[in-house]
Symmetry: C2
Amino acid sequence: MPESIFETVREKESPLAEQAADQISQLIIDQQLTNGEKLPNEFDLAEQLNVGRGTVREAVKLLVARNVLEIRRGRGTFVSHQTGVVHDPLGFAYMPDQLRLAHELLDIRLNVEPWVASLAAQQASPEDIAELRALCAEIEALIHTGQNHLGRDEALHVRIASCTQNRVISKLLPVITYSVQLFGKLTDDRIYQETIDTHRRIVDAIANHDSDAAGAGMRQHLMGNLSSIAEQERLYAEGKSSEKLEKLRP
Amino acid sequence: MPESIFETVREKESPLAEQAADQISQLIIDQQLTNGEKLPNEFDLAEQLNVGRGTVREAVKLLVARNVLEIRRGRGTFVSHQTGVVHDPLGFAYMPDQLRLAHELLDIRLNVEPWVASLAAQQASPEDIAELRALCAEIEALIHTGQNHLGRDEALHVRIASCTQNRVISKLLPVITYSVQLFGKLTDDRIYQETIDTHRRIVDAIANHDSDAAGAGMRQHLMGNLSSIAEQERLYAEGKSSEKLEKLRP
């Protein structure tokens, strides 16, 4: 019976492995271990936590699955980069109606990102500005040569967030720019020139430490995305389009 | 050598189990399985994915660790509530300097939650309003009897978010109200009456569908938290306090 097998898995995993995982987490927190620092070896951990090595191994697996730890072949177990942040941490991929999701995300981005851009304009260092300009140039080159620029587009938004020096904004931005990939599916070529223009406008404003212009530029950029989705929806409603939209519909 | 053991774990886990986990995720997405729906059994999954049962079992463990799946004893494997959202999804617990984190979170809440409260005032149904009032009353009763109200306080903020009908706001709010627990550590009794008053003011405004008052009430509430932290920091700087703050310092 498959159920009984899963049951065995559970009996083996929880609560002992979960408890050990919690203890290892607490050890990382208490000792303020960060990205790249090495964990004690399995024997030491087992002794320290007063559990068997099998339990330590299961606990490590749980923490690897949650991106708290990573195993480097032949070198040991280390604290992960972006400790504890998994891919798609709010489970957007599992939400029904991805078109509705695109709208919901855009609502939030319209409220948050102009503020983030204006903070960035206040705080940006010369290094920040140089990197933002480089990302802009990279995106433009990708668009002009007909390549996918969405990864770099997302990187630009995340890099603007990191100018704020607020670590939570930096962690949050990649989550809400999940929509960049959705828009990539939704929008067509016409938005590309607008993307180039508004990205430049935002980065210029940040370079000039002009908060208001940075916020306004970001708002314009996101409103451009919004009207592009609306246009796709209109075509879809008229039965003229759109394969892309079709995929996102529930 | 402990490293070689971890290496074995890795060899066994990845990429095969990760690949199978991705395939199971995709199956959940494609078939739009949601909270509480049952997964095919282990044998069927192994056949469908063309992998061994051991790999399916490892893949299921990975997805359980990420809160995509849950195992119910003797009943099978089901899609989790809040699919794919783990506890502390942005890894705040692992961030050094939790006092700085409290400030960073509060900056974001000050930008986001007044807007959320004003949206809630536009959208709230009679059921929403009744539940918000019940939560308010519960929090007040806990405070008056000297019990910990922070769990219910967080629940109130999350319940206000759910009035907006924006599913992303509902997912995001529990993340940024992580700070409620931090403030609980930081603040003292003096803030309790202010909490009661501003909660009431916010909920009354939502009940009256008064967006501006809801936003202003939320802003006042969060500013109260901010000045309370500032006061603690002042005392700490003067060497008069504070055990609570001491714990949060890096």
